[in-house]
Amino acid sequence: MKFSEFVKGLYHTLYTGVSHLFRKRMTTMYPETQDYPTMDMYAYDPKAGVAISGWRGRHYLDMSKCTGCQLCYIACENIAEAIEMIPVPGAAHPQNKKSIYPGVDYGRCVFCGFCVDACPFYALYMTPVAELSEMDRNKLWYTPLDLSKPPPVNPAPRVNMNIDIKRGVHDER
């Protein structure tokens, strides 16, 4: 091996190592920083004819657009059977005469997004919210009123973890 090749290799190694110090870190400290607002919602683009890519999480239902046509229910019927049309008596929207809206069972939903594609009035979206875990099975049923809440703008972690840098996760009891 020539001496010039040795110097070249040494320089290349050091340059690669030092240049990684100034790069932006890809790791997200998850429970403290949640980047929902920067993420896209999974929705159907009528002009392009294809779905806009985005995170597929909890649905968002626009109750002022939903007409109760049950197409999302039909799209889900032979896949997961998670969507069921639920009557909401209090909701007074003129376009929905039967006053039925989709409710989703997240114990069965596989987040395929076919209901979003099937909606002809663009009333269903999928938000990036993925924190749906519950202790009770019945709480995984989301009524139309639950689905019509928009995703949180500044989400806080659901559980306060009490992380100490020196001791790690600890339990003060």
Partner: protein, 77 residues
């Protein structure tokens, strides 16, 4: 398995049967047979959902009385 122990159902298949709900060799949810503490929906659940489910289980462990849960009535006396 010795106590204390907890159980997390991860994914739609373990919560309700998922896509194979009507299949003859799939149970309609594991919580009919063994007690499940936390259910994490998704098919498959995203990494955020699994971290959130484990954090929810940590909160449950923190708020629960482990002695009272597992000791039988005779030992309590």
């Amino acid at each position: 398995m010795p106590e204390p122990k907890w159980c997390i159902a991860i994914g739609a298949c373990s919560i309700s049967g998922g896509l194979y709900l009507d299949s003859y060799n799939v149970m309609q949810g594991i919580d009919q047979y063994i007690p499940v503490d936390v259910k994490v929906p998704g098919c498959p659940p995203s990494t955020y959902a699994i971290i959130d489910g484990i954090m929810l289980l940590m909160e449950k462990i923190r708020n629960s009385d482990i002695k009272g849960r597992y000791l039988t009535e005779e030992v309590k006396r």
